[in-house]
Symmetry: C2
Subunit: 179 residues, 2 copies
């Protein structure tokens, strides 16, 4: 079942902001902490909410690879995290399913690149494009150990250099550590 | 952009219920009228809401066929309508994208069957699975002339006989006429 996930930015929360900024488009208002839960924090400066959902592009053979290394959040050693909200352009969403799949995987190798980092980066994809009034299409969430932040940056650099990323029109990058 | 759509069932509305019932699973409470709009009616007995969204399975070549006969709602001659909320099983949603596509089109010919009726049935697919607390995955809406209701029933009979439909675990069929 789809699971509601809410990120509340403000002065309190389980994650302390180390740095935040826009990669493309408008930034989010600066906050010192972020809470991630099923509902919004009462005193949040901003909230971003969505749901976990079914796979949209992954094939059965790719899914077998992903399922062999399940993404486990809240591992004790994973004291660093990143919240990267993104929005794709209207041109992306107007494409047919096979056109979007071809850009995402056959041209950009999104799933294949990500698969190389399953062991060091736990991730969660939160969908929000279909939530009325949403400011982003996706809220991407990653957890990793401090020693693996370099590898995480390497993953991001590879993805940001792909044809798929030319369709990203809004991207914010917030780096966190457990409070 | 995703467009919010709300169906409000109650004692008032632009569409009068001719008959309603469950095809599979629990029925919805009987109402005499349904209003379809961007927001809920104040006095509704029940509301079902979701959003229009991007295509999930349609290929570029299939999209060209669909785009050649755009679905136009609110045609004066289309005084009959059907609201058919459906929910697919957890087994469906756990499948990978290529497995769902294969069942939907290569095995069930969903898009191909639907294409034969584009001229007589205007349709809108409202997604609600990703709305927190939603009771259905989709709210499917169809408008047609009274003389074409037989053809619409033929379309439904063909779809309900497909492998795809074995994954439908909840389906309600509400037939309407303009009030």
């Amino acid at each position: 079942m789809p699971d509601p996930i809410v990120f509340s930015g403000g002065a309190h929360g389980a994650w302390k902001v180390r740095r935040q900024g826009a990669v493309k488009g408008a930034p989010l208002a600066d906050v010192t902490h972020i809470e991630r839960g099923a509902t919004a924090s009462a005193d949040a400066a901003w909230t971003l909410s969505g749901v976990t959902s079914n796979l949209r592009y992954t094939s059965a053979s790719e899914k077998r690879v992903l399922d062999a290394t399940p993404s486990v959040l809240a591992k004790p050693a994973a004291t660093r995290a990143a919240l990267i909200p993104i929005t794709k352009s209207a041109a992306w969403w107007a494409l047919a399913q096979d056109e979007r799949r071809a850009i995402l995987e056959e041209q950009s190798h999104h799933v294949a690149i990500g698969s190389d980092y399953l062991g060091v980066v736990a991730r969660q994809l939160v969908h929000c494009r279909d939530q009325p009034g949403a400011r982003f299409d996706f809220l991407t969430w990653f957890e990793f150990a401090p020693a693996d932040e370099g590898r995480f940056d390497e993953l991001l650099a590879k993805l940001r250099a792909t044809p798929e990323w030319t369709y990203i029109e809004h991207e914010v990058d917030i780096r966190l550590e457990r409070a």
